[in-house]
């Protein structure tokens, strides 16, 4: 019991580390390609992460993957991949740069599109 939970904690940590690295790499890649004031990188990362977590949740419900695998992949990898703190910081930077409406559009839009993406993942996985 204790060994298994320790293993799971380690698994969440390692998966989170790779999730963070994936976010960093993809974020830099997108920032170089799509150089705009709008934080495209974090937006794409958060939306894809929300879609995948919905899919994972639905697949776990159908016993396609185990709950331990869900923990490592969702709580670990996707938790490390997506981010809330950077999103809010970027939103404030937009507002500070004078684009108050773009800032609100980014934050509220991320949340709304994120909800849609997670729902889409759930539906595709047969969870809703």
């Amino acid at each position: 019991m204790t060994f298994i939970s320790l293993l799971l904690v380690g698994g969440v940590g390692v998966a989170g580390a790779f999730g963070a690295l994936a976010r960093y790499s993809l974020g830099r890649f997108l920032a170089e390609r799509v150089g705009s004031r709008f934080p495209v990188g974090t937006f794409v990362i958060n939306i894809t992460g929300a879609f995948l977590i919905g899919l994972l949740f639905a697949l776990t419900g159908h016993k396609v993957i185990s709950s331990s695998a869900q923990l490592v992949l969702a709580t670990g990898f996707l938790g490390g991949y997506t981010t809330f703190s950077t999103m809010n910081w970027e939103g404030m930077q937009l507002a500070r740069g004078g684009s108050t409406w773009l800032s609100l559009l980014y934050l509220a839009g991320s949340l709304l599109v994120g909800l849609l993406a997670a729902s889409l993942g759930l539906v595709l996985g047969g969870g809703l």
Partner: protein, 164 residues
């Protein structure tokens, strides 16, 4: 410019610690407050946003935080500590259960809480820079040396660290 290897390691190590902290803290909060509302993710996201703003302000002013530490704390630790995917899924599940009020509360408190947290962290950072930089300079530089006032903050800070 940091080497690719150093940057990767900073993000990986930070992400490892951040994900584990979120997982354990989340279980602890759920143990106390239950699972009726996602208190754990809400608390984690708000605190993470506050600390990110604080650290970024300090790092931009090159005060206490260097480039490697910034990658480790901001991109690695706080990026993995806070999460967007669980927020989205948790909210969709609340809507799916028909708990409209709780779902909307979660959505709006995350949106407004995040903005407030970043604003507060930014303010705290500015406060730290003003007070921690100037206060030691006023007390540690003796009045006799007028030229000492022209010294950079870097040196005044170092002087203050060494016990006199």
């Amino acid at each position: 410019m940091l080497s690719v290897w150093r940057r990767m390691m900073a993000v990986l190590c930070g992400g490892f610690c951040g994900a584990i902290t979120r997982y354990l803290l989340g279980m602890l909060i759920q143990g106390y407050l239950g699972k009726a509302w996602p208190y754990d993710i809400f608390f984690i996201n708000i605190t993470g946003a506050l600390v990110l703003a604080l650290i970024t302000v300090l790092a931009d002013a090159t005060f206490l935080i260097g480039p490697t530490r910034r990658l480790f704390i901001n991109v690695g630790f706080l990026g993995a500590y806070t999460t967007f995917s669980s927020l989205a899924l948790g909210d969709v599940l609340l809507f799916a259960q028909g708990a409209w009020f709780l779902a909307l509360l979660y959505l709006f408190s995350s949106l407004l809480g995040g903005i407030l947290a970043v604003w507060l962290g930014d303010w705290l950072g500015q406060w730290c820079i003003r007070h921690l930089r100037r206060a030691p300079a006023q007390t540690s530089i003796p009045l006799e040396s007028k030229g000492a006032e022209a010294q950079s903050f870097q040196t005044t800070f170092e002087q203050d660290v060494t016990p006199s």
